[in-house]
């Protein structure tokens, strides 16, 4: 997976040929910890959050819903197709709004249709969790949904100090995935909601291994990552899902979760 991602990066942008960036499904919203309920903006984009050298065309959405105080609400009809501008190309994505009015956690799950990665001749499907909290009441953030591929957080994804850490468990259909391979990337830019575009890079990686950081879960599928900088961090457990094939080709069914760190000031 990583090797072929490198190949695709080489093919796509020769100038950035040394950047081995990972695909990350985003369900972006600017703020995950809200003081009170409000209508939030969301952008669903399939990209490489650190290097942003290629924005993929999303193939569609299978499921998009939110859970608040155990109540599930379908959000698929709220999605509107957009062209999202990365720093090197544009890709098909979505935008939506959601009224996060009730107190507590709003646990969103986005299950896109598998994306065909022609450079690797495989399909990729990243089941993505994003949690937004209203007024500090914890209700659903740690809920295990029994998804085919899922990262169950042991740390609240919206209340992490810079320098703190995030711990999660990689699961598939409720069972831990031992020694799961996890990619970690920093959303290295601001998202321009008005223009549906990515901003410039904030930090430079000292070495390729820092662009997409590869870590592994332990024997219980559990992993911890210390967060060095404020902002959004994405975690992707590669091929953790139980579906291994799509349209006669290999499927990498991944689990993604996004967490947001804040500076102490």
């Amino acid at each position: 997976m990583k090797k072929s991602t490198l190949l695709s990066a080489v093919a796509a942008v020769s100038m950035l040929a040394t950047s081995a960036a990972a695909h990350f499904q985003m369900n972006y919203t600017p703020e995950s910890a809200l003081d009170k309920g409000k209508t939030i903006e969301l952008r669903q984009v399939f990209t490489h959050p650190f290097a942003d050298e290629h924005t993929m065309d999303m193939s569609g959405v299978e499921e998009f819903y939110v859970i608040n105080k155990k109540r599930k609400k379908d959000l698929k009809d709220t999605l509107e197709t957009i062209t999202f501008k990365g720093n090197h190309n544009s890709g098909k994505g979505y935008k939506s709004t959601y009224k996060a009015r009730r107190m507590g956690d709003h646990l969103m799950v986005l299950k896109p249709k598998p994306y065909y990665e022609s450079n690797e001749d495989i399909y990729i499907q990243q089941i993505t969790k994003t949690v937004v909290n209203v007024a500090g009441l914890p209700t659903d953030w740690d809920r295990e949904l029994g998804l085919k591929a899922e990262i169950v957080p042991l740390t609240k994804p919206y209340s992490i100090w810079t320098g703190g850490s995030f711990t999660g468990v990689v699961k598939s259909n409720g069972k831990p995935v031992p020694f799961a391979e996890i990619e970690v990337e920093y959303l290295n830019r601001d998202v321009d909601l008005r223009n549906n575009a990515m901003g410039p890079s904030k930090v430079k990686a000292p070495h390729d291994s820092f662009v997409t950081m590869g870590i592994k879960a332990n024997k219980d599928g559990e992993f911890t990552f210390a967060i060095p900088k404020a902002g959004w961090w994405g975690f992707c457990a590669l091929g953790a899902g139980s579906d291994k094939e799509y349209k006669g080709k290999e499927l990498s069914q991944d689990a993604v979760i996004w967490v947001q760190a804040k500076d102490m000031k």
Binding site: K36, G37, K69, R101, R102, M103, G104, V134, A135, G136, L137, P138, T139
Partner: protein, 99 residues
């Protein structure tokens, strides 16, 4: 007062180790809903709630089984008070309560 504190403590476990929380929104139909809770996720069901105007209580009740309370929006300035016991009251000013 002491009796109430005791009852609350029994009802919600180690209540006082946690922060009382409240969030309110305007339903847009002349009513307002306030939701209460505690920072450890425990329920606010049965906890006292009131609406004050000019320092006087105009509406009084308890949080429902869903830890919320819906009331008719008073005309003029008001304050919603989630009263989880001494030192644990959360107040929200009516002007901060929006749709």
């Amino acid at each position: 007062m002491k009796k109430t504190v005791l009852v609350l403590a029994l009802a919600t476990g180690s209540l006082f180790a946690h922060t009382a929380l409240m969030s309110c929104f305007d339903n847009g139909d002349g009513t307002v809903t306030c939701e209460g809770g505690f920072s450890d996720g425990s329920s606010a069901s049965g906890v006292k709630f009131r609406v004050e105007q000019n320092g006087k209580t105009v509406i009084e009740g308890k949080m429902s089984e869903y830890s919320d309370f819906t009331f008719e929006k008073p005309s003029g300035a008001y304050t919603a008070v989630f009263d989880a016991g001494e030192g644990h009251a959360v107040k929200i000013t009516g002007s901060d309560i929006t749709e």
